[in-house]
């Protein structure tokens, strides 16, 4: 089975993340890394193709340097990569992003599309469902376990308060939760091989996209501002009365 995995380059959640004045991400402010959830998506795709045969294609949309994220996934073992890159795509919202990614996916043959359940920067978590709708496919979101038997996908997916067992027929769109798999580390051989693996770039013209970019986005940022950081309040060292002092604080705040 052939699998397309969507990956995204994001600001490292361990560093300080900033917005520019126009409300778009300040990509220079923080280290750029493959989103952790997407490395788990690549891992489960590799495991599935190791079991069932087939190839893994990693797909990203982002500026030039997002190639780094594709090379990381290729070093893990993915077979080829597609980079959707065009200055005209800057500032896309979720709906526009899903249109561009769906168009890129239509240039590939696949039995399964795998994504992370939500990116750590945008956190909208709606692109997988948008893709499924655009591609006319069934979808399973936030999977914590998955298996494939013939043309049937079975998964355990997270629901409020627990999980559900679900089935869908392939091709399908699957988004994964962080419990799906531990990503492998690329070894030296993988890193060297990644440099020679095929990487295709696709732009607005090749994909036939219209109404692209921030100015045409259905969602328009009206304003954005950093919130003043929370200030540390009172801190006491427990001398046996810590519990009582805490209770007194909560009572004064009318919280108990």
């Amino acid at each position: 089975m052939d699998i397309a995995v969507l990956v995204k380059q994001v600001p490292d959640t361990y560093s300080e993340r900033k917005l520019r004045d126009d409300g778009t991400l300040d990509r220079a402010a923080a280290d750029a890394v493959i989103d952790e959830i997407d490395s788990r998506g690549v891992e489960i795709a590799l495991q599935l193709t190791e079991q069932h045969g087939g190839e893994v294609t990693v797909v990203t949309m982002g500026p030039d340097r997002a190639t780094e994220t594709l090379r990381k996934a290729l070093a893990m073992g993915a077979h080829q990569a597609v980079h959707v890159v065009d200055d005209g795509l800057a500032g896309s919202d979720a709906l526009q992003t899903s249109a561009a990614l769906a168009a890129a996916l239509k240039t590939l043959t696949f039995d399964l599309v795998i994504t992370g359940n939500e990116a750590s920067d945008g956190k909208s978590g709606t692109v997988p469902a948008m893709l499924a709708e655009r591609l006319g496919l069934p979808s399973v979101s936030s999977a914590r376990a998955v298996s494939v038997d013939g043309s049937t996908l079975s998964a355990e997916k997270i629901v409020d308060g627990g999980y559900a067992e679900v089935t869908a027929s392939l091709p399908a769109v699957l988004s994964v939760s962080e419990k799906i798999a531990e990503p492998r580390y690329p070894n030296f051989k993988g890193i060297m091989a990644a440099k020679k693996k095929p990487l295709t770039t696709l732009g607005i013209a090749e994909l036939g996209l219209e109404n692209t970019g921030g100015a045409a986005a259905p969602c328009q940022v009206v304003s954005s501002s950093p919130k003043p950081p929370r200030e540390a309040g009172q801190k006491v060292t427990d001398d046996g009365t810590g519990g009582s002092q805490l209770a007194a604080f909560l009572a004064a705040e009318r919280l108990i």
């Binding site: 069934p138 969602c219 309040g233 805490l246 209770a247």
Partner: protein, 318 residues
Amino acid sequence: MSEVLVLVEHAEGAVRTITGELLTAARRLGSPAAVVVGVPGTTDSLRADLTALGAEKIYAAESDDVGKYLVTPQVAALAAAAQGASPAAILLPNTVDGKDIGGRLAVRLGSGLIADAVDLDAEGVATQSIFGGSYTVQTKVTTPAPIVLLRQNAISAEPQAGAGEVTALEFSVDPATATTVTAVHVEPAGDRPELAGAQTVVSGGRGVGSAEQFAVVEDLADALGAAVGASRAAVDSGYYPQQFQVGQTGTTVSPQLYVALGISGAIQHRAGMQTSKTIVAVNKDPDAPIFEIADFGVVGDLFDVAPKLSEEVKARKA
């Protein structure tokens, strides 16, 4: 006045609290119209509550297929309602299902979508709190029928009885895009409130030390009538189940009170709780980053402090 569609969250014949919050937000923009998607008879059992919460109209989208399929019945029902009503907005809860329903609906209707909104004003401008609450962003959708996913507990429900007029809604699910649900395993919630919508959350971290010792966290939670949460470190150590994880990769919470026990306050944890109204923390390490954002911090052993706090809370209640 244009209708504002609200997808009703319900379980076991009862309306979930987020529905009251969505109906309150809907009233700011137009006439609240609740869309009930359930098996036949569901609307009858929810009608009185939805009317009291503010529904002027109630769409009854009922079918035996609901529950057999993931999200596509809700998408079909909302799309049918939207095509008839040309709504001013469509409001959904910012849950796993809400995101799936909203994402598909946005494509089907060509509507812009705003996820994880913490507020929505009469002009349809949504407020989002991003990067773990370090930025506030205001966004507006320029297409007709904007879809807004509201974070639980961000808006207070202000019930104000509506007309509650019931209208049946026809819809059909396309089997080609359907995902079949074969079994649902939900942990009994017990008497504790649901994590994402709780007014008070008591969370434990690596400092709790073991699954058995999480009882100290649960005891304080029960004394406070709170939900129990856990840091990623505690979940990864196997102290507490994953569905209770608070943080960047778990549930985002904004309760009135957040109690952090034995949690160091890594940036990923803070991202899921620092919009809480009041934060208090107990940690052995005086340099733990959690103290930088705590309104009240106790440097000490949580196994001394938490039980004493539980006792005081129980004594004050008695």
